[in-house]
Structure formats: C-alpha cells, structure tokens
Amino acid sequence: MNARSQVLLWGAQRASAMVLALCVVVHLATIIYAVRNGLSASEILGRTRGNGGWLVFYAIFVAAVAIHAPIGLRTILAETLGWRSRGADVFAMVVALSLAMWGWRAVWAVFH
C-alpha cells in the first residue's frame, strides 16, 4: 500500500472516530432512556420498526464502526504480530466488509 493510501486510511479513522463519539453518546443515552421501565424486544422493535430516523442513525453508526475498527486492527496486527504484508490489508478489509454486512443486516432487521 502506498504512503498516500496509508495517510488517507489514517484520516478515515480519525473522521470515523468523530462520528463514533457522537453516535456512542446518542446510543448510550437511548439505552438509559429505554431501560427505565425494563427492557423488552417488543419495546425496542416498537421504537425502531418503520422509523427512518433510527434506520439512518444506526446505518451511519455501523459504517463508522466498519471503517474505524479494521484500520485500528491493521495497526495492532502490524505492531504486535509484525504482520505487515498485503495479507494483513486484505484481512482488515474482510473484517470491514463483515462488520458492515452484519451490522447493516441487523439495522435492517429491526427496521423492517
């Protein structure tokens, strides 16, 4: 991977961290609000089903996670295991796609 791509990955991780900071705060606040009368699947689905706002919010949340985590994982693999080859980049990309796929699938499941 060339230096420019490495720099853009760094930028993407910082940008996604900013998005995550906001998303995590909203997510935690929602949890605290939602569990005040106990927690049930029907209550969660009642809030999320058909709600375009939550769909967009969690779709962005998942995208930020799928960008942020694999870039960090790539660095951890390089620094702790010495895995710096193209294989490590491919592995990080597979993790990114997996997080995005399963995350968006879950978001769609509670919306649909």
């Binding site: 490495q6 760094w10 660095t75 620094e79």
Partner: protein, 235 residues
Amino acid sequence: MLQVRVWRGAERGEFQLFEVPRLESQTVLDVVTYIQRRCDPTLSYRFACRVGVCGSCAMSVNGQSRWTCRTHVSKVAADDRLEIAPLRNLPVVKDLVTDMREFFDKWARARGRFQGDKRRTDDFARVSPESRERRLVDASIECIGCGVCYSACDVVTWNPDYLGPAALNRAWTLVNDVRDVAADQRLMAVAGDAGCHACHTHMNCTERCPKQISPTAGIAGLKRLVLDAAVKGRL
C-alpha cells in the same frame, strides 16, 4: 556509598555491581566516569561536553532514558541505588555505548537536511521572530540529537521502521522554515505507516526530552499537513 549496577556486554550481557562514593552535586555521568577511572578501565561509554550541549551521554538510568551529564544523582537515586544501561531501541555496541547509525539515518530518511534556493550572492532572508512559522521553529529547533526520545518511544520498539520523534521533529522544524523549498518532498518522506501517522501520542518523547521540546506536538502538525497534502493530491 552508591550501589551502582552497570550493564556490561553487548546485546547479551549482565549488570555488574560497583560501589561509588556519594558526593555533593554528583551527576550520573560523574558516577560512570568514576567507575571507569577507579574501578574498571574497560567500561565503555560516551560523553563529550559534560554540560548538556553535545547530546552524546544519554543512557537509561533506573529504567528511564536521560542525559546523564545533567542528571543529578540526588534526583534519581532516592535510596542510593542506580541501574545504568544503554539506551533502548538501539543496538548495543559495548556496555553503555549504542550504535546510533539507524537513529541518524532516519533523520536523513525524513529529509532532515535544509534545502534552500538562494546563492551566497543573494541577500539575507528576512524572517520575523514574531511570525507564526518562526515561533514554531523556535519550539522545536533546540534538539541536540541525544536519542533520549527515540529510546523512550514504544512505537519505535513495536515498529522498527518508524522514523521516531527526533527525525520527525527535525522534519517539522524544516517544514516551518520559510527559506526551505523541499516541503512537499519532506511531507512525502514522513507520510504513512513508518512516518508521523504511526505515532500513538503516548508522549513519552515529550515527557523525557531534556530540552523540553514536544516532538508530539510537531508530529501532530505533520499529521495534519500530510493529510491535507494527501487529500489535495499533492502526495
């Protein structure tokens, strides 16, 4: 008396115990010099100026990288015990002497050499001491190349290709030098996984720098400039 354990050997070796008289205003370099002159003349170590200018006497003292000529024993040996070892992250030549080649090669790799476009017949460049660029240069230019920051940096340990705080601080100094004409090439040289973006902002370098420079701040500045260059296609 001071109980002083000193590293003997190269990469493989062991600590040797010496007893050294405790004196007033004694520095760690005084202790090492006493051992070499009075106890064991085969002890190898480096020093030159003894007054914090040359940057050649840095060692690991009780686990922390320090310039030994300006480190008073009273500051680091609360119980009259010292453990003196060579700097971390550099190959050991013998005893307290490390091979500094990789450290300085990385300065070259980071394009740490000034590149101007003026001739000796041109007029002097006029740089206002109050200008933003000159102030940034002031904050980073006093580096003496002692290697303390490089030795204290965990990222260097984990990523041997990482240019390290001193080389990046030098690059930052030159990026802010308005007379220099190689800024974009320098940003290219310090970009990516082995450059400024590998820094985790642990700030060990800033904590340990004997000249109170903050390489971390310079590296953060480089990160922003390099990202800007990458986004705008100048990289």
